[in-house]
């Protein structure tokens, strides 16, 4: 069973790709939502697969895909609006990387939360950056966050970097200290600050900070579902 990517607008050449999937603190979802809003990105495609859970979004009584592509300003944001079990998530990632590789991307970025036990005491969450290659590191030299000097990275980000590297796509993973099971707009703000230098436009995070409580309330159900999906997953090591 395959993953189908349908583009509904002219393609962005040499884009920066951001792939956002629900994970710890819903960091990448919150960051992607904010980026779509402030950069006024338009929906330019959708992704579907029989492998995806039988969940649809509904708007004005009409079924919507739950994995969408937004584009504009030299950027693609691919966002999964529902948590995906491990197998469909990995297949989605591979398909998106194959798709973007044909567009000769400048950079592919994945963002994620690293659960921090004492997150409540951390005022400014730290961002850690890992690149798929030396080339990616130099291409994204302006990117914020602290470079991970040595060690091991596991989980979804590791899978993303490895698959990007196999396809010759320069990629970066930005991981931030976050709550594990609560939506974390504060952590998302720090990630956005870190990627801002490579985007080529300003990302105003003041609104994200001001609407923090509304975002947490709105994303409560998705967060609960993400935690449940991670628990049910046969290979939790792949859930970032």
């Amino acid at each position: 069973m395959s993953v189908e990517i349908i583009e509904t607008a002219p393609e962005v050449k040499n884009p920066i790709l951001i792939l956002a999937v629900p994970g710890a603190g819903l960091v990448s979802i919150i960051a992607a939502d904010h980026l779509i809003k402030v950069a006024d990105l338009k929906e330019v495609g959708k992704i579907d697969s029989p492998l995806f859970p039988p969940v649809i979004g509904v708007k004005d009584g009409v079924a919507m895909h739950t994995v969408k592509i937004y584009g504009g300003k030299g950027l693609y944001v691919v966002k999964a609006e529902v948590p995906l079990p491990v197998d469909p998530l990995l297949k989605l990632t591979i398909s998106v990387l194959d798709w973007v590789a044909r567009k000769r991307p400048k950079l592919a970025i994945v963002m994620g939360g690293v659960p921090e036990e004492d997150r409540i005491k951390v005022e400014k969450p730290q961002v850690m950056a890992v690149f798929s290659s030396e080339e990616a590191k130099s291409l994204a030299s302006g990117i914020g966050g602290e470079l991970m000097k040595e060690g091991y990275l596991s989980g979804y980000a590791a899978f993303f970097l490895r698959e990007a590297s196999r396809r010759g796509v320069p990629a970066a993973a930005l991981m931030v200290q976050s709550f594990a099971a609560y939506p974390d707009p504060g952590a998302a703000a720090e990630v956005l600050k870190a990627i801002e230098p490579v985007l080529g436009f300003d990302v105003d995070i003041s609104q994200l900070e001001a609407e923090s409580e509304t975002i947490r309330l709105k994303l409560k159900e998705l967060m609960a579902k993400t935690v449940q999906t991670a628990k049910e997953s046969p290979a939790p090591m792949y859930i970032g």
Partner: protein, 111 residues
């Protein structure tokens, strides 16, 4: 097929009178540590009650024009001392630390 039915029941737009907050329960050296996400809840809108084996949290949140009532009864994994329970609310994240009940061992007379 259980997952199939679970998925179709789930929705983002569920309307409930009383919400169950996102929460985590851990047992640490300090005792039972409960954290709870209560966006929009102020200290004055929060009531916490404790017994030797449970903690009840009731709160009202106001975010923009939305009013949400939260209620959650958590059965503690170990007995706790209700008089020593402490709670702190920081930016809508509640942390409750409930020290364990002191276990006094008494000599049992063998008959």
């Amino acid at each position: 097929m259980g997952w199939f039915y679970r998925e179709v029941r789930w929705g983002y737009f569920t309307v409930r009178d009383v919400e169950e907050p996102l929460h985590e329960v851990k047992v640490t050296r300090e005792g039972v540590v409960i954290t709870m996400d209560l966006p929009g809840v102020r200290k004055e809108d929060l009531v916490i009650s404790a017994s030797e084996d449970a903690i009840l949290v009731e709160a009202v949140s106001r975010v923009g024009g939305t009013r949400v009532r939260y209620r959650k009864l958590i059965k503690t994994p170990i007995p706790i001392d209700p008089d020593k329970v402490v709670a702190r609310l920081t930016n809508g994240i509640l942390q409750i630390v409930a020290p364990p009940k002191e276990m006094g061992f008494r000599r049992v007379k063998v008959e």
